[in-house]
Symmetry: C2
Subunit: 205 residues, 2 copies
DNA sequence: TAAATTAGCGTACAAATGTACGCTCAACTT
DNA sequence: AAGTTGAGCGTACATTTGTACGCTAATTTA
């Protein structure tokens, strides 16, 4: 890659990073202005357009990138689970860690999921869908579930985890422990219930 | 109430209604400006201050009012359930109806739950908490649950319902049917699972 | 009836925003 | 070596925003 393209990429990164850094509990993506982001990235407002058509395009990039980051981290965590122990417990702990080290990545997904732009909502759903289908396949194979039961179960699990994540963002570290415990309990409910429903269906034939 | 106070109340309502009416899939509360709301309500921008300190105060009013509306409608629906039939099924159907007739009320709760203002988030949580504790008490009495198991179960149920609501907002009427069915399945999972866990605990003593 | 209160208005202003336009100059192509 | 490209900049402008201030006129209070 030429010097020129390299520099361009660097600036582009600066923009994305600047936007991520400006996110916080008090600042959502949609409240960021193009000028603010450019300022933080150290370029002139008008130079922004050399990289993105508008703020929307930046945001979608962030959603995609953020989703990827999250999935990679979760996958890494799942490897730990293969060494033995409760899958649920380990997944929850991993998730909390991911959350703590990337709060802003999680924030944008969470907020834009119920956001004002259809494109954003779709992008977030797509990311969540990745989680769900990965998990559904896992359960289908592991626990011999009917596809649609596996699907419903996986979806319920993911939703519960995401929502707990949302609450966790506002909590102190000590309170998070209790939250994680309750989440584990809820996930077990779903898993146990799914198993019971599956049994009932199997016996009926 | 004097003529004067009556007129004031009327204008205040006009403001709240104007704000609710401007909400849509493409327009969140935080994207509304004070001037827009005033314009829609048919008063001068500066007159806004005769009723609310700022947009934030308006928003909090809307959250409180919206939560109240939702709870009243759900309560009315629960009466239908007492006539017999699956509590879960009837509650879900009621919820979908409520959603369809008050999409904007639901939207503001949903969006501000992950919003940018701590006050808003707290207000929404408070509303959701109402739902949860009502349901937890119901379950505790009805199904002899341990308090904390009842609590975890109720929370899981409410979260699943709310999330399905969020998805439903983006769906056509025909697709909502399938969504409702899956939701019912998920709720049954939680209920069944909670029951099984309860049994296990009981047997252990 | 006289005085006090106040909802609503119009004017005004500073601040911030998105973006059009044209320039520069370093990097790349031929 | 000569010519082309394009990232980044500065200037400029029309819009929109929140809100300060002071007035009016109708209602309420005394």
């Amino acid at each position: 890659m030429g010097v020129r393209a390299q520099q361009k990429e660097k600036t582009r990164r600066a923009l994305v990073d600047a936007a991520f850094n400006q996110l916080s509990a008090e600042r959502s993506f949609s409240s960021l202005s193009l000028r603010e982001v450019a300022r933080e990235a150290g370029i002139a407002p008008t130079s922004f357009y050399r990289h993105f058509k508008d703020m929307n395009e930046l945001g979608l990039t962030m959603v995609d990138e953020g989703g990827l980051t999250l999935r990679q981290m979760m996958r890494k965590g799942r490897q730990r689970a293969e060494a033995g122990g409760s899958v649920i417990r380990i997944s929850v702990d991993t998730f909390i860690e991911v959350l703590e080290s990337n709060p802003n990545v999680f924030r944008i997904l969470l907020h834009e999921r119920s956001g004002t732009s259809a494109a954003f909502r779709a992008a977030v759903e797509r990311e969540i869908e990745h989680f769900i289908s990965e998990l559904a396949h896992y359960t289908e194979a592991q626990a011999n579930r009917t596809p649609d039961l596996a699907r419903a179960q996986a979806e319920a699990l993911v939703i519960l985890v995401f929502n707990a994540g949302a609450s966790a963002l506002d909590l102190k570290r000590s309170e998070r422990k209790a939250l994680a415990d309750q989440l584990v309990l809820q996930l077990r409910m779903v898993a146990t219930g799914a198993e019971a429903l599956q049994q009932k269906m199997d016996n009926r034939t």
